[in-house]
């Protein structure tokens, strides 16, 4: 009887432990492949909050997902932008590259305009311009 209760309990605990973090087996300082430094990131929402900034005119477009991977010594980034409104939205974005010391690793990028259809997603992607870029921020701005 005790055994019958114990096995599901152990299985349940193992499952819970496995699901406790979405980061999986990632090296320290990384979440979903993206560098996070000392920041506490336990979910995709946390990661997006850490990496995405708004500048200038605010937009209702939200970054909902972000994933990073290494391509040689450069960082590849995919970010999903979501327009959950019933209108076409126009925004511009840029990435800001930061080196290991927290200084700018690259010049300010040009703003890149994009259009999102109503109730749609758009994946923007980029690769770091230099291997000195150890971290990044995605900056969004409304163009309406």
């Amino acid at each position: 009887m005790t055994r019958k209760i114990l096995i599901p309990a152990v299985l349940g605990m193992a499952l819970a432990a496995g699901c406790a973090t979405k980061k999986g087996f990632e090296k320290p300082g990384y979440a979903f492949g993206c560098p996070i430094g000392e920041a506490k990131v336990s979910s995709m929402e946390d990661l997006v909050r850490t990496k995405v900034q708004a500048e200038g005119r605010r937009t209702t477009i939200q970054a909902t997902e972000m994933r990073c991977s290494q391509s040689g010594d450069l960082m590849r980034i995919d970010a999903n932008l979501n327009n959950d409104s019933k209108a076409v939205k126009r925004i511009s974005y840029k990435f800001r590259w930061i080196d290991r010391e927290g200084m700018r690793a690259w010049d300010e990028e040009p703003w890149k305009p994009v259009m999102l259809y109503e109730n749609s997603n758009l994946v923007i992607n980029t690769i770091s311009p230099t291997n000195k870029a150890a971290d990044f921020r995605l900056i969004l701005r409304s163009e309406e």
Binding site: S71, G72, L74, E109, P110, W111, K112, P129, T130
Partner: protein, 190 residues
């Protein structure tokens, strides 16, 4: 009646003469939508996209500082575009990233040779002058095309640009990398 007209004209002339003109510095990297002709935002976006894409090409990513020469980007659009500005920006971005070296291109060949020849004169110290026959040939050449499709109906003008770039292996003639960047701009009056 006449007096009123004179006063009105004088006021209009004054207003036109006193219209305040202001000059301000702006953000060179902001989105520019003054007209739908090829503009700074198009140039910057094309150059950045192409340079980043090229960084991922195996010929560049897995090689140790490959040497590239920039050839012509043919302007097949209906407007004047300085395509050299596009390739110059791509070259600057790649050079700054430190992953590619660039050999002197056709446009820069004459000044290069002239300077080399000039240094062979007796005026220069022998041990400091650039030797003839030491220039390095490129392994790859970068070339491409930019096209546009323009459509206009009454108050709407639609412009579509496509830049296609190719990186060719000079030794064996293989295409090592190619990519495209498309831009659509629509202007509506009223």
């Amino acid at each position: 009646m006449k007096a009123r007209l004179v006063v009105a004209f004088a006021a209009a002339a004054l207003a036109a003469g006193c219209a305040k003109e202001t000059t301000r510095y702006g953000d060179a990297r902001s989105v520019e939508t003054i007209t739908n002709q090829f503009g700074s935002t198009d140039l910057q976006m094309m150059a950045e996209t192409m340079a980043r894409s090229m960084l991922q090409a195996p010929a560049i990513a897995s090689a140790n500082l490959p040497i590239v020469t920039v050839q012509e980007v043919r302007n097949k659009t209906s407007e004047y575009i300085d395509t050299r500005a596009i390739t110059d920006s791509i070259r600057s971005e790649l050079q700054k990233g430190g992953r590619v070296r660039f050999a002197v291109d056709q446009a820069g060949m004459n000044p290069q040779v002239e300077e080399l020849k000039r240094q062979q004169s007796e005026l220069y110290a022998k041990d400091q002058r650039a030797e003839m026959g030491q220039m390095v040939g490129a392994q790859y050449r970068l070339e491409g095309n930019i096209i546009s499709i323009v459509k206009q109906v009454r108050d709407t003008k639609d412009v579509y640009y496509k830049l296609n770039l190719q990186l060719w292996n000079i030794r064996n003639g293989l295409l090592e990398w190619s990519d495209e960047k498309e831009i659509r701009k629509t202007t509506t009056k009223g």
